[in-house]
Amino acid sequence: MVDIGLFTQIVINGLLLGGIYITIGVGFSLAFGVLEVVDFAVGEYVMVGAFMGAVLAPVFGAEGIFVIPIVLVVFFLAGSLIQPLIHHVTTGDRPHPLLMGLVFTFGLATFLRGSVLTIFGPNNQDVPSSLLTGGVTVPGVGTFPVVRTVTAVFGVTGLLVFMYYLYRTRGGMAIRAIAEDRTNARLMGININRYQSIAYGAYAALTGSAGVFIGMIFTANPGMGLQYTAFAFFMVVLAGMGYLPGVILAGIVLGLTQSFTAVYISGNLVLLVLFAIIYVVLLVSPAGILGKGEWAT
């Protein structure tokens, strides 16, 4: 027998979790669109964000949420400075530029993971938050844990602000122009270095702050990054390459899959289930579950 109360509770948890995954997925596919680089370091940004939360939260009265503005600024600056390096390895006369971009971000990921592992050791670290505890119970529906709700609200807000910038401002127009055609955008007088850095910085900032929230919901661990890299790729494959509305659906599917697998099967088998889903999606519908993306190649 399926317990209805438990079932709706899992749906709530999954949906709220999906909110933050969407943020990661959208930033990730934007970085792919603008820089034409598939970023292997995405999960490590989540991990470093979570560790910044764990380290800085005690400074701010054990309140992880106060760390968010710092994380946003630090990651934006770091991302803006990393972007020119990625741009450099994916352009110019070198063999297999795309492969090189991937390899570079792999090196970056190894560097970040190794540094955190060496400095903080392999153990879990808590990201404390005293404000975001407990939950609000809605009779007949279930409990909305405060930390997950705030996280989802942050995720959706971040997404909306990001979308507003992308579709309603001149800067956003420049970024979309670069994603469309980098050479032509440059010919139109767009400083592609600057706008690529803004795009990558914004993506890094969103991902890093998502990491703080993920650290508050679960915990911070030096090895957690790879899982979120896998999640980001999973969302993009599921959504269909380059199809943003698909990412939103895929984020929700991911959140639900994770919470259902954790409760009904086993928390350790989430990746196995995700791999099975990717396996089937690629065999049956390589253009994503909505069939509107480019073919996954």
């Binding site: 598939v38 292997f40 803006s80 400075l81 020119p84 390096l85 741009h87 450099h88 390895v89 110019g92 070198r94 063999p95 297999h96 795309l98 492969l99 090189m100 991937l102 390899v103 570079f104 792999f106 090196g107 970056l108 990921a109 190894t110 560097f111 970040l112 993971r113 190794g114 540094s115 592992l117 060496t118 400083n191 270095n193 600057r194 850095s197 790879l226 890299t229 896998a230 790729f233 999973f234 993009v236 494959v237 086993s266 350790n268 088998l269 990746l271 196995l272 995700l274 791999f275 099975a276 990717i278 396996y279 690629l282 065999l283 390589p286 996954a296 190649t297």
Partner: protein
């Protein structure tokens, strides 16, 4: 390009003497330096072989397999299950490792080789992770307890052998496997028509297809081959290390090491994995001995990869071959500086 082993050909004197000297050194190594150095040597040989196996799919075919370590683990567990659970001799486990890894890698190849680049990388990574999780919860692999393999003299072929199954024995086993892997790579990828097909599909899949190359078939062949090689090393490693656990032989760090070694050395070259394998293996050992940190080599290697990709994309071998000189680096730095024009 100058011959199969350019770094040796560039040394002064007749290269044949250098090859002969190297051969003598490799054979005499454990006899000259004892068990400790035999252990270091067999580790280096195993990692060179594994890096080469990754180089087949990652370097020659251009498919970044981030789940390659899974086959090392599959090989280890195939041998482990055959020996510890069913009491078969090692050779049966060895054969089982080859059979199981070829079947599994073929099944994985069919959907995942539809992907390229990062999507292939992450799909294979997720596969490796799911194999590890499965190994942790199933009974036959010993689950979270792991497996202990027997190592008495009759566990090699079923009847007692007249020599000890010792460090020296495993050194020679790894030496044979490593040389066989090198020879296979040299023959298949540098001399045989197969290698030209593989490189053609890496450089331009559509063009290769238009010339009548069945790229799907070739890709699957390379993938299965490279996975079986990794599994073979895994099976010997399991017997050597005696106790295997999913968190050890299926750890993602195994894949990471293979990738890093092949990359640093030079992708798609015969000698790249040798140079990279030696460098990374020694860096790791030295950092744990001299710095007292078993993880410090990771950020070091991360930086090394980034610097290599930025300034010397053809790896150490590219530098040794003289493909990358000071002017290239200077030009690279200048171009990179221009990209920091952000305001």
């Amino acid at each position: 390009m100058s011959g199969p082993v350019p770094s040796l050909d560039r040394l002064p004197g007749d290269p044949r003497y250098w090859y002969a000297g190297l051969a003598v050194l490799l054979v005499a190594w454990p006899l000259l330096f004892g068990a400790f150095w035999a252990r270091i040597g067999l580790g280096a040989l195993m990692w060179i072989g594994l890096a080469q196996s990754w180089n087949m799919i990652g370097g020659y075919a251009g498919y970044l397999d981030f789940g390659h370590g899974a086959y090392f683990g599959i090989g280890a567990f195939a041998a482990g299950i055959a020996m510890a659970q069913f009491g078969y001799p090692f050779l049966v486990g060895f054969g089982l490792a080859i059979v199981v890894s070829s079947i599994v890698s073929y099944l994985v190849a069919v959907p995942t080789l539809r992907l390229t680049g990062a999507y292939f990388a992450i799909a294979t990574w997720a596969f490796a992770e799911s194999i590890k999780q499965t190994a942790l919860v199933t009974g036959i692999t010993g689950g979270t307890f792991g497996l202990s393999l027997p190592r008495s003299p009759d566990t090699f072929v079923g009847v007692p052998v007249p020599f000890a199954i010792s460090e020296t024995f495993f050194y020679y086993a790894m030496l044979v496997l490593c040389l066989a892997t090198m020879a296979l790579t040299y023959y298949l990828f540098e001399r045989h028509e197969f290698g030209y097909r593989v490189k053609a599909l890496r450089d331009d899949q559509d063009a290769a297809e238009s010339l009548g190359i069945d790229t799907t078939r070739v890709k699957r062949q390379v993938y299965v081959l490279s996975c079986v090689v990794a599994a073979v090393f895994g099976s010997v490693h399991a017997w050597y290390i005696v106790y295997i656990h999913p968190n050890d032989v299926l750890a993602p760090i195994i894949t990471d090491r293979m990738v890093i070694m092949a990359l640093l050395g030079g992708l798609g070259t015969l000698t790249g994995p040798v140079a990279g394998g030696l460098l990374v293996f020694l860096l790791e050992r030295l950092s744990s001995v001299f710095l007292g940190s078993t993880t410090f080599y990771l950020p070091l290697i991360g930086v090394l990869i980034m610097v290599t990709v930025l300034f010397a994309p053809s790896g150490i071998i590219g530098i040794l071959r003289g493909e990358v000189d000071r002017d290239d680096v200077r030009k690279n730095v200048k171009e990179l500086g221009e990209k920091f024009d952000l305001l």
